[in-house]
């Protein structure tokens, strides 16, 4: 592959109830072992404990990585003014299912408005596992004037169909491969929305396997050009266009 492999969605840290999984060494080891040149990552502490402490931890660990890791920030609307806790983030992550908050939720609307008002256009990664959530988010994105791209993750079954419908209607919407693990699923997604709209994200190492998601992408029946877009080109383009949260 001419393009380096880039993983848009990785996580490091513990997954409750198991605690004490420090640092990014496991993630970096897996990336090195399987030829992943760079990744956007976040600390699970930001999901399960505190977006403030977690996002800071993410920034520190990424700063120590020599450019291999780029920071994602968790926007947790349950926390007041959580949009102010994202400075330096290259990806803004929303986990409504895991964190159990609704999409129709004034704090989320306010946070997106505030980000749009500051001119932020960093891509958003949205946990779209529940049917209907992505549709509601899309309406909110339009209503708040947020202009960044939206990557939909956790796609299977009805959530996949929903993501495809949104992607076909608006070019800012992309599909993440983290839950596209079935035979033919990545190629199917590409056939429906185009290779420039499907982006490799593993959910590894805290929520998945870097090697498994990479293996599925590598055996997918795609042209070399399309595979390069999915495995790295699209992430490169998204990160370049989005910049960082100021």
């Amino acid at each position: 592959m001419a393009e380096p492999i880039l993983d848009l969605y990785t996580l490091f840290g513990a997954m409750p109830p198991r605690g004490a999984e420090p640092g990014t060494s496991t993630l970096k080891n897996m990336m090195a072992k399987y030829g992943v040149a760079g990744a956007v990552t976040l600390s699970t502490r930001a999901i399960f404990h505190s977006p403030s402490a977690g996002n800071k931890e993410t920034q520190v660990r990424c700063g120590e990585s020599g450019g291999v890791l780029l920071p994602a920030g968790v926007l947790d609307p349950r926390v007041a003014q959580s949009d102010t806790l994202l400075t330096g983030s290259r990806l803004i992550c929303l986990f409504p299912t895991t964190q159990k908050w609704p999409i129709v939720y004034a704090p989320l609307e306010n946070a997106l408005k505030a980000l749009a008002g500051r001119g932020v256009k960093v891509p958003i990664l949205f946990e779209a596992t529940q049917p209907g959530d992505a549709t509601q988010l899309a309406r909110l994105i339009t209503a708040t004037g947020y202009t960044g791209s939206v990557v939909l993750s956790g796609l299977s079954g009805p959530a996949f169909s929903e993501a495809v419908a949104l992607a076909l209607a608006d070019e800012r919407y992309l599909l993440c491969t983290d839950a596209l693990r079935g035979v033919g699923e990545i190629a199917y997604a590409v056939s429906l929305v185009g290779a420039s709209r499907v982006v490799y994200g593993s959910g590894g190492v805290a929520r998945g396997s870097v090697s498994a998601s990479l293996a599925v992408a590598k055996v997918a029946k795609l042209s070399d050009t399309d595979r390069e877009l999915v495995l790295g080109g699209n992430t490169k383009r998204l990160l370049a266009a989005g910049g960082a949260v100021a």
Binding site: R181, V183, G208, V210, S211, A212, A215, V219
Partner: protein, 266 residues
Amino acid sequence: MAEEIIDVHCGWGPTPAAPTWNQTETVQSTLAARGITMACLSSLLARRYDPIGGNETVADTLANPGSPVQLRGWLVVQPAQHEESSAQMRRHLYSDNFVGAALYPNPATGEPVALEYSRELLILIRRYSKALLIETPTAEAMWHAVEIAGFMQGVKIVASGMGGEEWRAAIDFAVKPSNLFLDIAGSLVPEKIRYAIQAMSGARKLLFSSTAPGCDPAANLAMMDEAGLSSDEREKILFANANRVFGWGTGSVDSPADVTLSAMGR
């Protein structure tokens, strides 16, 4: 070079992403490209809607299975269709083409397979001296599988799915019954394999499965690679334990790692 990988639980039937997963050539070529040498199929139609009709499509396929992957079948049985399932077991379970019977959660409600709803059917299954597969997508489902394993002493039971996201609790439940085997399908978390080996004091009760087309076998093989298993552990999981469960002869393997790397295009 690896010579044997037994995928103990595969699906049979089209999906939107794999619309020809009911054609022998597609299934054969896809599995062979991942290094699978034998696969045990169960009908997706039978699991979700029509057990009798779905099983017959698998039986027809097994009559002309093609090559190079050896295909065997699971006969999906349904407690709510006791008489029909009983008749179909009489017709097919004496054949070597079927490795055993399979029970899945209620397709309408998602309720796990439980002894209280399946007792009469389980008594029938026991007569055939074949394996029983129980899909266990949650820890609760595994708890019920453990109870069934106690009821079905002498029958080898394959719990498929390792409890999904709840793999830790599911593995803890499954430690004791000596006739209960776990496949590695479910969550793609390499850590669960190491956890199971530690909890069960070895890999003797673990089996390889993909549940394709729902999950590409390349993913499960890669997950095994990432788990960092010894060659002995890999051999047991990839085929030796399955040979024991199904009562087949032992195979040989030189380097299962080569197959994993091949599946990943490395």
